[in-house]
Amino acid sequence: MVETVVAMKLPVDEKLRIKKQRVLPLAVTGNEKRISIVTGTHGDELEGQFVCYELLRRINENIECLKGIVDVYPALNPLGVDSISRGIPMFDLDMNRVFPGDEEGPMIESLAKEIIDDLSGSDYCFDIHASNIFLDEMPQIRINEISEKTLVPLAKLTNIDLVWVHASATVLESTLAYSLNSIGVPTLVVEMGVGMRITRKYGYQLVEGILNLMKHEGLWDGPVGEVKMPIISSDRAVGYMNSNTSGIYVPECQNGDIVKEGDVLGNVLDPLSGEIAEKIKSPIDGMVFTRREYPVVYGGSLLGRVLGGETS
């Protein structure tokens, strides 16, 4: 059943509504575990939309196999998704920097608080992102090192390519995932694909992983396809490639490529002179897992990331 989590009147004849779909097992015992799938926090990230669709389709197709409660929130930032705006359109605010929210705070913070209240009590949560319009990401789960113990075992079930355990930073405490993890809702942040596009292959891959986690944790006893083991980043170097010039970036690599330190992975071109402004080389041996898609670059623009270590 579709439920409205929060509604708020906009100035002229419209309400902002954050909706969710709740799917219940055919016979409810009252002891079900609950999993929440959240996406659409950043309005320009659409990969999660296909995941929502496909997951619900798979569950509905075998509804008798459902043993837990599934809540699907396709758009935490419906105005942003609807208007190709990464942030919340009226405020130019990153919605993933206002959690855990505050009832007494500005409107957006009170929305954030209601979202957290609605999600609290979930036994598992997936927070699905799709990078941004600039970068294509190999399907990966990002875990703040402070939640490593709880989350890595769950992430291993999700059929993702890579689990990236990263250092904590104070500023990340205002994310949805941080807030949920800190109130005891284990939340896995997925980054995959690229902004403004849907990569169906990644969608199918993640849905299989979500169903696998549900099966493992007793929320699902239906069919699950083959599931692979992710690479875990712990103790591996992550090499960053940032541009040092401005121009047009044309990559010469694919995500998943195994590369050696010094391999040229792309070039920054100068369209006004016809010359290569900068050759971009891999800083380490490893596997490319982030690749810049958007060509215009400044000094500092991230062009790619390579995960070091044994990856084959």
């Binding site: 990464r86 941004n132 401005s246 500092g300």
Partner: protein, 311 residues
């Protein structure tokens, strides 16, 4: 006055982004003043331009005390200003969420890092800042409670209010916070406007900075002594919200004294023209913030009031 480019960044299709610093006096790095970090901070840019004009005159008269250097950086975010944007022109990131910056990082981290390197070693750091809520503020000095803040110094600006803000995770990447981490006494000055120029509060801001520099012994200057500030905790302000959405008309403005029950604003039905809600003041006090746009959503903060304070 010495004018120099303190940071530059090549652009693929536009002129280089050049951040300019104006230095007055020489010797110990005493005070640094930063203006528009975001593209819409027009008032902040204007205030800096007026301050630079004034400091140039003072320097010509020999009024900068020897062994003191003042630097003013009027704008960092003008690549955004020039195209009518608030945040960084390419990826919409906020330079004031990138401090202390990182010279190997993303573009706006590099800008923040490159500028911060030049401005971090001053004893006093003053930023003309802006807030994301659209409206007017009472001019005030804002400080973050990092444990290193010094409210008695904030009082020396002679502005009527000093506001203390509890540090939240999101604040840890601002210029103000990082200045404090570098043992610089950091102050954010809020004048009444952001994307429009308000002459009166601009003059007040310039006067406040000159007064502060005079009192710290950085310039020789005579000024009115200003106010002895009332110190307020941001969390103590009374918050007034819209009960519904619609066309918004404010009746009262920042700085005005109100009584409990006074009408503050009206919300009119956007189609039918009748007043659907009259917003009343929940307390006696002085209006600290007043929302300005013609439309409001439900649950929006439209006023903040300093409780139980009289003019």
């Amino acid at each position: 006055m010495r004018k120099e480019v303190i940071y530059s960044l090549p652009s693929p299709y536009r002129d280089d982004l050049k951040v300019t610093g104006y230095r007055f006096g020489s010797g110990k790095k005493s005070a640094c003043i930063v203006g528009a970090i975001r593209g819409n901070e027009i008032q902040q840019l204007y205030v800096c331009s007026q301050l630079i004009k004034k400091l140039t005159e003072l320097e010509e008269k020999g009024a900068i005390v020897s062994e003191h250097e003042i630097m003013v950086v009027p704008s960092i975010g003008h690549h955004s200003t020039n195209i009518g944007k608030r945040f960084w022109s390419v990826d919409n990131t906020d330079i004031n969420r990138m401090f202390p910056g990182y010279d190997e990082g993303e573009t706006t981290q590099r800008i923040a890092g490159g500028v911060f390197e030049q401005i971090k070693d001053y004893s006093y750091g003053i930023q003309f800042a802006s807030f994301y809520m659209p409206g007017d503020f009472i001019p005030h000095v804002r400080m973050m409670e990092t444990g290193k803040q010094n409210t008695s110094l904030a009082n020396l600006f002679g502005l009527p209010y000093v506001v203390l803000r509890k540090v939240r995770p999101i604040d840890t990447t601002t210029l103000n916070y990082n200045w404090q981490m570098w043992d610089c006494n950091a102050f954010s000055l809020y004048t009444s406007k952001t994307d429009k120029i308000d002459e009166i509060s601009a003059k007040q801001a310039v006067a406040a900075v000159l007064r502060f520099l005079m009192r710290m012994g950085v310039i020789r200057y005579n000024s009115h002594s200003g106010y002895i500030a009332t110190i307020i905790e941001e969390s103590d302000l009374a918050v007034v919200r819209t009960g519904t959405s619609g066309i918004y008309r404010r009746l009262r403005f920042a700085g005005e004294e109100v009584c409990m029950g006074d009408p503050l604003a009206e919300i009119t039905h956007p189609y039918e023209g009748n007043v659907i809600v009259t917003i009343l003041s929940p307390c006696d006090g002085i209006i600290f913030f007043s929302h300005e746009k013609p439309l409001v959503t439900e649950h929006e903060i439209v006023f903040k009031i300093i409780k139980r304070l009289h003019e």
